[in-house]
Symmetry: D3
Subunit: 320 residues, 6 copies
C-alpha cells in the first residue's frame, strides 16, 4: 500500500500508516491525565501527534527517534493539522521504505551519475585518469556517493545532494573552462569530482541527516585527502605511481576549496585551479541555498525570514 | 618612425625616441658633480635613465611625470639595462601615441564590444532592454567603456580591461545561466553589462592609471547607480518609464556585487541574480589577477612572491 | 471620544475602543473549546487580549495586523493586565487617528522644523544654499521628513524621530563648529540636514515601522545620494549649476556618515567635514538609544537587560 | 642670541648654533675617507648634516641622540637643504632651551589652564568637586599636565597637547551638555578633566616624545584610575570620603573612554556619561589628527598620503 | 536535622525542609483557579514546585529569590520530579546553612589554602615576598579569597572556585618552571597568587553568583591592580618600599593575563612571565570548563550540546 | 682545519675559509669599475663581502645561494666588519660541514631523543603504543625528526628544533598530567610525540630553512595526519588493527593543535586531550619565541623592537 504522505493528509481522514516519530514527551493535563505529544514526519513535512489516555509504558516503548505504525485520525487544531492517535506500535527501521522519509533530489540519479562518469572520462592526464578511475571502480563508495546528501542544513541537504552538487559543478566547469585557457582542466575536473568525497564518511543519512563521530572529529576535507592518498597507495601497489607533484596539486585543491580559514580550509587557494574549484563550489552551493530558501519560505511576503548564514533576508519578487 | 619599445632595447644601441619620464631626481656624485636619475618607461616596461653632467635648469624643466625625447645610448649596468642620456627635451603629451605608453588588452576591442552588444541584444524584458540600449546609444560613454581599465592595480589593469572583464563575465553568464533556470537571466545580463560602468568616471587613464577626485570620494559602485538613474530619468523624459521594482532589483545587483561590506558594497546580495553576478565578477577578477601574477613573475621559481591581496604566494608549476 | 490609552487602563474597567491587533492565534482549551489569543496595542504599550468562545470565522476575519473595535473588560491575570473580549470588529485604517497608535516624538515638531530651516538659512555658500533650498521647497518631501521615524529599532524610532535627530545634530554642530575653525561649516550644516533624507523612502511608518522593499534593496544612504543628485539636476534645469566638486564633497559626507564599512558606508570619512558629521550622528544616535533604553527598562534594577547592539548592559543609578 | 630655526635657514648661510643630533653614522667614501652622516633638528624640522674628514673619535663622542653645537655652512643638495659641518661639540641638555627643540601647542597654555580650572569650578557635586580640587592642588602634577603631549604620534603630539586636548573637550562638553539634559554634567566634566591624566606618567617628553617603561607596561588608562584612587585615599585621610558609587561611575568613564576593547579599554561604555566622554574624546582627537595631517602634507596635491590609522587618504580641496 | 538534598528526593516522599525559591509566578488554570509555579533549588539541583489553590497574598509574600520552608510531597510529572506544596513560609537568609545552597568545590579548602601559603613561601625576592605577605595577613580578604567562586558561568563557578583555580595554577607553575629557566619564578608565583584577587570584589556569592555594581563597572582585572597598589602603599607606610619596576612588572602580568584585548586585558603580554601566567590561567580555566561540561552533560551521547564559548560541541567518548 | 666563524673574525685578519654566499650582485663604481657585493655567512652571523676588480664571468659563476672558498682580508667599514675578497671559488655543498652553516639547538640531541623514547615508553594503551613504536622504528624518519627545525622563523628555528620542541612539550605534559586526572594521558603523550611530525616533510633545511613545494601546498598538519594513517595501514598489514575511534581521537588532536582556524587548524579542539596539547604547544612555542627574541635583541634597551606576531614590543629588564 502506498505511503500516505504528510503533505497530502486532509483534516478528518482515517490514518493507518508508518511515520517517523521524534521527540515524544509525556505530559499530564491539568486534571492529571497523562498524554503523549510527539512529532510525526516523513520527507514531505511533519505534523503534531497527540495520544490521549497514554501510559508511561507506552511512552517508554517509543523510539526516540524511529519508526512507528500509527492508527488514528487527522484534525485541524489552531489552523494546523494534528494527528490524534489511538494505537501506536514500533516498526523495525529495516522494514521501512527509507525513501519515503528522507528528502531526495528531484533529479534523475542514474542520469547524473552517467554524466559524471562521462565528464570524468574527458580527463586526459593518465595519472589523474587512473586515480579518478580507481574511485569509480569502488562500487561501495560510488553507491554512497550517489546517495549521500551535500550537507545537513544549508545546501543540497537531501538524498542524492552530493551527486547533484558534484554533477552541477562539473557542468559549470565544462561550460567555462574554454573561457580560461590558462587553467589546467584535468586538475579542475578531477578536483571537482573528488572535492567532497569525504562527505560519504562525514555524514550519516540513514534516518535523518547528521554527522558521524569521525566526521565531526576529522571533517570531510581531510577525510577526502586521506581517501585520495589511500587510492593512490592502492594504485601504486598495482604498479601505477601517481607523482607527488600531481598528488600535491590535487590535494591542495581539495584542502583549499572552502576558500577561507574560518570555513575550515587549512590552506588558501594558491593555484588557478584551486581558485576555480573554490568559486564553482561556492556559486553552486549558494545558488542552491538561496533558491531553496526562497522556494521553501511559507506565505507570500516579498522577503524570506532572516538567513543568518547569508546575513540578510532574501527578496523573491520576480520582475515583469 | 616606429617606437622602439623598452623591452626590445639591447645593450649598446643608440637611443633616439620618446619615453615617459617618472620621478626624476637631481643627485650629486661624491665628487660634487650633479646628475639626474630617472625612470624611462613605455607600456612594455621601464629602465633606469642617467644623465651625467646635468644642471638644475635641465632638472627643473623635466615633467614629473610626462613625455620626453631622449638621445643617448643603452648599456648594461649590474645586469640591468640602463640608458645614458646625452640630450633630453620635453614633448607635448598630445603629440604622443598614447597606446605606446599604456598597457592594453591583447584581445580585439571591436570584436569584444560587438559580442557585448550581441549579448545585450538577448535581453527580452522591454524595460531592461530600453535601459541597456540607452547606455549603448551614449557614444561618448561607450568609447570610455571600451578604453577604461578594469582597475588600477589588481586585475584587468590595462586599457580595454573594463571591456574585457565585462565581456568575459557575459560569456560566463551565457554559459552557466541554462544550468540555473530559477535565476532571471535578463537581470543578470543587464547587471553584468552595467556593473562597473562607473569606473569610466572613477578612474583616469590618460598617462597612467589613477583615481579621479570624484572617484575616490564617491566610488564606482555608487557612480554606476547614479548613471543608471540618470539614464532612467532620460528614458522617462522620452516616455519610457522604468518600474521602480525593476530599477531597485538592478541597482541592488550593482550595489551588492562586491559581496561584502569590507569591499565597499553597502548592501549584501539578497537575490539569486545578485549572488550570481557577485560570483561571476569575483571569479573573473581573481582568475585574471592570479594568471597575470603568475605570468609576470620574473625568474623560474615554482612560486611567485607573496600576494598580499590573496594572502598567499602562488604556485605555478604545471603538471606533466 | 478620546482614545483610552493602554497604559491608562485599570483592572476592572469596561473597554469599548479601537486598538491595533497583532499576531492573533486560534487555540483550543484542553476541553476542546476554541479561543483567540492576541496582542492589543496603541502607542503607549500593549496588552494580552483573550476572546473565549471564539470561532474560526471570527479568527479569519481579523487583520494581521490592523485595527479593531473591541468591547469587553479588563482584568488582572498573573499580575499583568489582560483584556477579555466580548465583541470584536474590524476598523478601516483610514478612519483611525494614527497618532494614537504610533509612538511620536514628545518635542514640538513645528518648532523643530522652524529651527532646522533657520539653521539651514545660515549656509552662505550659494550653491549649497540653493541645493538645501530645493529640498525645503519640496513640500511633500518635507512633510515626510517631519513625520518619518529615525529608525525602526535602535534610536529615534518614533514619528518625528528623523526630524528630532536631524534637529539635534544641527544644534550640536552650531555649538561646536566655532571650536573647530578648520572645518567648513556650510558643508557640515548641509550634510547634516540631508544625511538621512533617504529614510523617508527607506522606511514605512503607516501602521508600524518597517522597511520598504526599495529601502531594503538600496538603503537610505544611497537613496539620499540619489535624491541629492536629482535635486541638483532639477536646479540645473532651472539654470543653477552645482559644481561637481561641491556635489562630490557633499555626497562623500552622506556616503561615509556611518563611519565604517560594516555599518553600510561604502566610503570611509576622508574630509574633516565627513568626520564631524559622522561623530555628531553617532553621538546623537547613541545617546538617544542609551537614554531611551534606560528609561524604558522596567523594574528598579540598577542595570538594564543586555543590549546586544552595545555589547553591554547599561547602568542607570544616578550619583548623589 | 636667538636660535636659528631649521626652517629659516637659506642655502649659503654660515651656521653657528645648537641643534639636536639623531642617528649619526660613520661611513666611508668609495675612496676610503671617513665621514659622518646625521640628522640635525629642532622643533621646526630637520636637515641632513655631513661632516667630511671625520674620525672615529669624533663619531664616538656624539650623543645618540642629544644636543650639539654645530659650526659650518648650509648648501642645497638634490633640492634639499644640507648642513656641511666643520666643527661639532657636545652640549649639555640642561643648558638648552628645550622649547626650541620640541613642537609645542600654538595656543596660550596659561589661558587654557585658567579656562580648565574655571570649567572644573562649575562642578557642583561636592565629592567630585573635592576630588578634582585635589588634582588641581597638586602643583607638580599640574605642571606636567600643562606640559605633556597628548600622544606620541597620532594627535596633539606636541608640548601642551594634553592640556589643549582636555581644554577643547571641556569646551565641547559645555557647548552640548544643555542639549542632553539626561546626562549628568558633573560626571562628564570631572571625567574629561581627568580622563588622560595618566599620560603625564605614560609619556616622556624631555628631548623627544616616547613611552616610559611604566607607561608601556601599565598604560595611561589604568594609571589614571590608580591616580584617582590615590587622590581619593588622600582625601579620605583628610576626612573627605568619596562614595564608592561615585568613584566607580567616574573610573568607569576613564576605563571605557577608548570605546572598544581593541583600543585598550578594558570596559565598554555602560552609562550615558561614559558614552559622551568617549564620543567627545574621539571627535577631538580625530579632528586634530585629520586637520594636522592635511596641514602637514607637503606639496599641493588634493590628497594626502595614505593614513593607515584612518584607512584612507584625506581630501583637502576646499569648496568655493 | 540534615537537609534533604534535591538530588536525593524520590517520588512519593513527604517534604518538610528549606529550599531556595526562584522566579515564582502566579498563574491561573483554564478554569480560573490561581496557582503558583516556582523553582525550588539547593546546591545539588533544582525542581519544579507547584502550589495549587494559591492566593495573591501568598504570592506577594514570596522572596524573589530567597529561602522558604516548604511542606508538601514529591511526585513524578512528565518524567521529572515535581514538588506539590501545601504550606510555604519565608525563612531568614541568616538562619540558613548557605553551604547547602551554593555549589562548592569538592576539594579540601583548608588544605588548598595551606599549599597556596607554602608555595607563596617559596618566593625569594624580598619585596614580592613582603607584598604577598601583606595579602596573606589580610584575614578578611583571605576569607573571601577562600570562599569566592572563580566565575559566574564558565569555569570554577562554585564556592571555593577562586582558591581551587589559583591553587591549581600554582601547582602547574611549580611543575613547569624548572623547564623554563629564563622565566623569573618569583614574578610568576606572585602573579598567579594575586591575578584574580579582584574577583573577591567583582562577584557576589551570598545566595547566588552574580556581579556587583562595582565589579561590572570596573572589572576584576583593574580591581586587582588597585588592591596591589593599596597594599604597596600600606607597606610603604610601614617602611617597606616596593620598587616601581617590580610593581610595574607584577601589575603588567595581572593586566595582560587574559591574553587579548577582546577578553578585557588592556595590555598584551610583553614579558616571559606575563606569557607564562596567561597560558597557565587559560589552560586551567579551559580544562575545568571542558571537563565540567562533559561531566554535566545529561544523557549518554558521545557529544555535549554546542558550547558557544568554545565554538564546538565536545566529544566525551573514552578510548579503550 | 677548524672553521673560522664569522662572529670570531677581528678586523685585519687574513681570511682563507668556506662561507655561504647569498645575494651576490654586480655593481659598478662611479668611475665605471665593476665589483661584486655579497653576503658571506655561517651559523654565527653574516658579513658584507666586496670583491673589487670583479668581472661578469666571476659573477656568473657564483652560486645564488651556495658555498664558496674565500681568500682575502677583514676590515672595519662604517663600524661593521667587511671582507675584502681577492679570490673566490665555488665549493661543492657535499664537501661542507653543514653544521657550521645552520643554527643548531644547543641542547644534546641524543639525550633529548632518548628521553622522548622513554616518555613514549610510558604509553600503556597497546594500540597507541604500537603506533608510536611504528614511528620510532622508522630510522630514516627519526633521523629527520632529530634534525628538522621547529619552524622557519618564529620559534625553534634551528637544526634539532623540532626534537627540542617535542621533547620540551613531553616534559611539560609529564609534569602537569597528574594535576588533571580526567585527561587521558596516553592520547596526550602520543599526540605530542606526533603532532608536528609532518614538519620533516614540510620544511627543507639543507642549506637554509624554507618550505618544500609539497609543504606549502599541503601543510604539516595534514601531512602529519597522512603519516599517521600510513603507519596505521602498515600496522594493519602486519596484523595490528588500530580502532577507528582511537585513530580519530588522535588525528583530531593533531588537526586542532593550532587552536584556531586562522592558524590553519581545520578543526577546533573538542576533547580535553586536544585542549591540553594545544595549550602546551602554544606555551612552549611562545616562550621559546619570546626568550629568543629577548636574547637576540642587540643593544641594551629595556625593550626589543616591535614583534608583529605578538603585537607588542617585549620588556626584558630583570627585577632586582
Amino acid at each position: 500500500m502506498a505511503h500516505k504522505f504528510i503533505n497530502e493528509i486532509e483534516p478528518g481522514e482515517t490514518i493507518d500508516d508508518i511515520y517517523m516519530v521524534r521527540e515524544p514527551i509525556l505530559r499530564s493535563t491539568t486534571r492529571g491525565d497523562l498524554y503523549i505529544a510527539m512529532f510525526l514526519s516523513d520527507r514531505t513535512g511533519q505534523s503534531n501527534g497527540r495520544m490521549w489516555q497514554a501510559t508511561e509504558v507506552i511512552y517508554k516503548a517509543l523510539p526516540k527517534p524511529g519508526f512507528v505504525h500509527v492508527q488514528g485520525r487527522s484534525e485541524l487544531y489552531q489552523n494546523n493539522l494534528q494527528i490524534i492517535i489511538n494505537n501506536i506500535s514500533v516498526v523495525d527501521a529495516e522494514k521501512v521504505e527509507v525513501d519515503d522519509f528522507l528528502a531526495k533530489t528531484d533529479k534523475d540519479t542514474d542520469k547524473m551519475f552517467d554524466e559524471v562518469k562521462k565528464t570524468v572520462g574527458l580527463i586526459r592526464n593518465p595519472q589523474l585518469k587512473a586515480l579518478a578511475g580507481e574511485f569509480l571502480a569502488d562500487k561501495e563508495l560510488m553507491e554512497k556517493f550517489c546517495k549521500a546528501p551535500g550537507g545537513t542544513a544549508l545546501h543540497h541537504n537531501y538524498i542524492g545532494g552530493l551527486l547533484e552538487h558534484t554533477h552541477n559543478m562539473l557542468q559549470v566547469a565544462l561550460a567555462i573552462l574554454p573561457l580560461y585557457p590558462d587553467v589546467q582542466s584535468d586538475l579542475v575536473l578531477t578536483g571537482i569530482f573528488l572535492h567532497d568525497m569525504g562527505k560519504t564518511e562525514e555524514l550519516s543519512y540513514d534516518m535523518a541527516f547528521s554527522y558521524t563521530d569521525s566526521g565531526q572529529l576529522i571533517g570531510h576535507i581531510v577525510k577526502t585527502v586521506l581517501m585520495v592518498n589511500q587510492k593512490a597507495d592502492a594504485l601504486k601497489a598495482k604498479g601505477t605511481q601517481i607523482d607527488q607533484t600531481i598528488l600535491d596539486a590535487l590535494c591542495h585543491i581539495i584542502l583549499s576549496h572552502h576558500g577561507a580559514y574560518e570555513f575550515g580550509s587549512p590552506k588558501l587557494p594558491a593555484t588557478p585551479e584551486a581558485f576555480m574549484v573554490y568559486f564553482i563550489d561556492d556559486l553552486d552551493a549558494k545558488l542552491n541555498q538561496v533558491t531553496m530558501a526562497i522556494e521553501n519560505e511559507p506565505g507570500d511576503s516579498n522577503w524570506t525570514a532572516w538567513k543568518n548564514a547569508l546575513q540578510t533576508r532574501l527578496y523573491r519578487k520576480q520582475i515583469e
